[in-house]
Symmetry: D3
Subunit: 247 residues, 6 copies
């Protein structure tokens, strides 16, 4: 299809920051798989395991303990990240509520410095349905700025060039002021995303929900020029301006 | 520079819709030159010549007439478009106020059908300092929709695929709620843009103003990852979602 | 379920204003069926038949004519309205583009006076993907105000009390700044809505699309307190304040 | 009047969270009285007594102490809550500035679990004229989410169904981006509200101010269909979608 | 009071544009009286007499005719303007609906050229409760731009310097996204405003309503530094930037 | 020029709160110089020296230490403030990240009480390119409210009348939702501002950048009525309503 941009680029670095262990799998794993599929490096930071508030099926088992849930979630998320070809960096900060103190913030800044990401995927700034997602979003944006310094000039600390930053879509996009402006065709890596979804041990209904979501986004993408060969799409919203050499 | 997207694409079609003859030259001619420079086709629709309200230097001449101004403006704009490698389509609808009636709107839809643009550059939706720019913007967006039909399904009239639509920047961006999200490096075609600016016979101070503007945008682009080799930039705001095969 | 409001009211009047003949069926027919199901009166105004831009399947037939399409669409929409227990009032103003001139506007005001609606369902104010929907929305809101007069005081023309006004959801809600704030449980009338959908002779994929939409809205409604017995939901956005005797 | 919704429901639970002891009396006590008047349960949490910044008349007395002010404010607010038929839960967190630390936040979550409110009334998110109101609003919304869990699925902690959440109106609504969308007719309980106002020992001018405010809101309600029998109104803004079985 | 700006200026020109004959009296006559009181010139354009929709008390009289209402409204408005020391320019364009066609727009531009206003007072851009006010606001802003030309440069028509533009407050400010940012102390001319209100022959309840409004705005002004000597205030919202020689 | 407001006032107090030592010099020193030039008192609070993130040229020197940078920045900022006739109050809270804890907040409130400012200049609320500026803005607004009390009534602590509050412009105004609404003609004090810029030892390119910015703002001011004698302008956005005795 002539309308789609054909992007060719050398391998670059991608960083994804997820409030709970599963968030990135539902909503951004296609982007990760596309990126690593062409030789890019990717790392996923999971601020918490979502062990208290988002591990419903595990808590249904009698005698369940927080340690066991944390371990299982870690194993699942590592498996999912591995399927996607991404490193998995858990920070284990706890959930419901998630808090990112100065020490954790410092660790996050270090990860920015170490990975020097070109592409950054984070939670959307607003989510009136989840107490942890905006905290993760704010901490991510702040760490990005601290790792960048004031931009251009030398500083008293190591800095990185500004990563292009996107929000992946919230669970309830139209109640979070999320306005998708970038539709990513993940059809070529759909099989990989499906495996990652399965690795999370997620309830069948959520797998179905996000499979359907990817199809609805593909439907919507026709209005952005996608043809019928586009079957699965992930939606993103740009949070920073993009530098381009062509429109 | 690794951070910039490297875009390779086949030649495509670009359409620019300008309220007055000079608007596109100041704010979008770099984008046009980049596009035609790699073999793309481009057409500029000028809804009016700006003969009444935006031809200041011409009206300083004693004995000036509206016909003469219109002719001079047409010649200048044709020359500028020619330098940029773009077709020039004047609709001569009058300015201050510009009005786009149903006949003119129909002509605009025809132009969309004829040019089937992949990229559409229009005025920003708001401009509290200019009576004609929002009229041009609204007419452009409406014609695009009418030329697209309801999207995907057959209709009783010919349709085109949805063009990716950008607003070029207003004269006073921060008073028009214009939020640039796309910085286009026009350094490679700056010499061409300068020639186009000169062709407009514009006052020196406006040429200086927009030269300085392009430098300030380049300065700003460092925060979007541009290096020091980026000297001139045009800023745009996306008005439609973009279909991508990679972030 | 204790959380849901239990509303008991005498039969009232509902008015729905649809740009094209099918719009109200996809997105508001559950609300109409619920309303008429308890004895309320309902009327649907269809500003156009959508004969040019939204009758895709009909235009695939060889030798198709505009008159035939108009007639078929009218019959289908009348059938759908009849299934819902609503009157059908076609204004036949044409589509792509839809225009509501002063005469049509006057007719719309008359319909407001005649039906004196308590509940008004219209298109959302914004829709960057459809040229006719915002025109229909604006015309609807204007006619409502003209029919109301200045509020409270006598006027030189007959007036009605202010109808409570809702927008039904656009085809692409999260790209139209549509923020659903009212989830209507249409599970009890889903069978009726399905029949109305079939009456439109609509393509199978659109029926599936809106069936899935109703299920996704039900899923979303759990966050507004809906239980698992809520299977199908239509989403609306209130455009006027609501007078209440209890929260 | 046929236009008003007639709501009949079983007794439910209402929770009001007030930054200072008097805030809920001025702006939400009518809603509380209506609720308890039909058998509903209500509890008012007062995060502080407003002892430092909002006890003007008390600080005019010579020799006044912070302990005495705190005690008087507590007694007054308890009396007001008692008149309204609501429990009063002071958290005594201090005012100007009010801070809600993790311990206080945990207490607030417990109160949500204990009261399992159907209706939640809180401060509006923005108030550029008061340092404590946005803090109270944010803490209330966060505690609500923490008490809800991720919605639907089991968690490692007890959860409640999502309460319908409203903001009561700020002292200066049109400078706080407060857009009232729900007008509550408190005429039937006006006498109760008047008593509650008097219990606060408030200055005469504030009683007059809010009496006049309730009349102006009633005047405004005519545009939402209220008749002349509606004399006193409290205005609210919905902060969550509402689940309905009829429009 | 030291905090208030002390403005001394030579007499200047003020233009007020009112959709109906009474609008300017309720909401901007204090500003006019202050302006003319120090020697400024003022003109009020009334686009219509409000003869159909806003002359309630007149239409209660049996046998009333549109001509008689128009005449009475004109006389009343002229009397009010005269009390304020302002010229009254009725355009008689009709109301409910008000329409400003190209001829009327041209007349409006001429009035701008003739009066060359320094200060322009118009309706707020949004009013979901009145069909004519946004039409008046849009026509006023457009005429201002047409009279200004492109700003600075000569044009083919006479131009004026840019007037500072304010919106006076709508009837229901907090439902019109009106955010007052300028509080004008009209205490010194309150007696004049009262006379103008009486000249309109307006119903007692509206006079009371706007008297109370002016007192509430004065109350609100304390938060902007007003002392107790400020008893009556009119609120405005700036629609253009202001040029200042001091903050 | 007749159009400009001529303001005459007695000397008043101005407070400027700067996140880093240089911020106020680039963007608000003209306002300070105008204010002190007519006898006003001014104080500049610098929350940090910008020693880590905004002292690029100093960190280029080999063997540089944080103590030395802090000292040099302090001396430069004191010199700049002295040139402007303003007191300089460094709080030395550290930068990248800047944090304002309760103790620092208390100190800030004390400074408000001590200086009782009529005019307050702070950072704009949003800046997606700088981690410290929004922190400084929020801390400034909060301290202002805490110093004001609840407005009008006595409190348990000393209070001040509400200062008029402006945001000075961010480094990248059109990416910070900064909408300038007040253009201040600083031409008369440009020579003073230039000296202050030089005192900061700032890189030549930033001096040039802000000199050009002041010229562009002057250019823009023509649309707000400025004549050609206005050569340098600083732009501000009002954050509080203004009390006026004339428009």
């Amino acid at each position: 299809m002539r309308r789609r941009l054909e992007l060719i680029r050398v391998a670059r670095s991608m960083l994804v920051i997820s409030a709970h262990a599963a968030d990135f799998v539902w909503r951004a794993s296609g982007a990760v798989a596309l990126h690593t599929g062409v030789g890019g490096e990717a790392a996923v930071v999971s601020l918490s395991y979502g062990e208290r508030g988002e591990s419903g099926s595990l808590w249904r088992r009698p005698g369940q303990t927080i340690e066991a849930v944390r371990r299982i979630r870690r194993e699942e998320a590592e498996a999912a990240a591995s399927i996607l070809g991404a490193a998995f960096i858990p920070l284990d900060l706890g959930d419901y509520p998630l808090a990112v103190d100065e020490e954790a913030s410092g660790r996050l800044v270090e990860i920015f410095i170490e990975t020097a990401p070109d592409i950054l995927l984070i939670h959307a700034p607003e989510d009136p349905f989840n107490p942890d997602h905006p905290v993760a979003s704010e901490a991510s944006r702040r760490a990005r700025l601290l790792a960048m310094g004031a931009g251009g000039a030398p500083a008293a600390f190591p800095t990185i060039p500004p990563p292009m930053m996107y929000a992946f879509e919230p669970h309830q996009p139209d109640l979070c002021r999320f306005e998708p402006d970038t539709f990513l065709d993940i059809t070529p890596v759909w099989a990989v995303k499906e495996k990652a979804l399965q690795a999370m041990g997620a309830q069948a209904f959520l797998r179905e929900h996000y499979t359907e979501r990817a199809r609805q986004r593909a439907f919507q993408s026709r209005y952005a020029g996608a043809g019928s060969e586009v079957e699965y799409v992930e939606a993103f919203q740009r949070l920073t301006p993009e530098m381009r050499s062509a429109l």
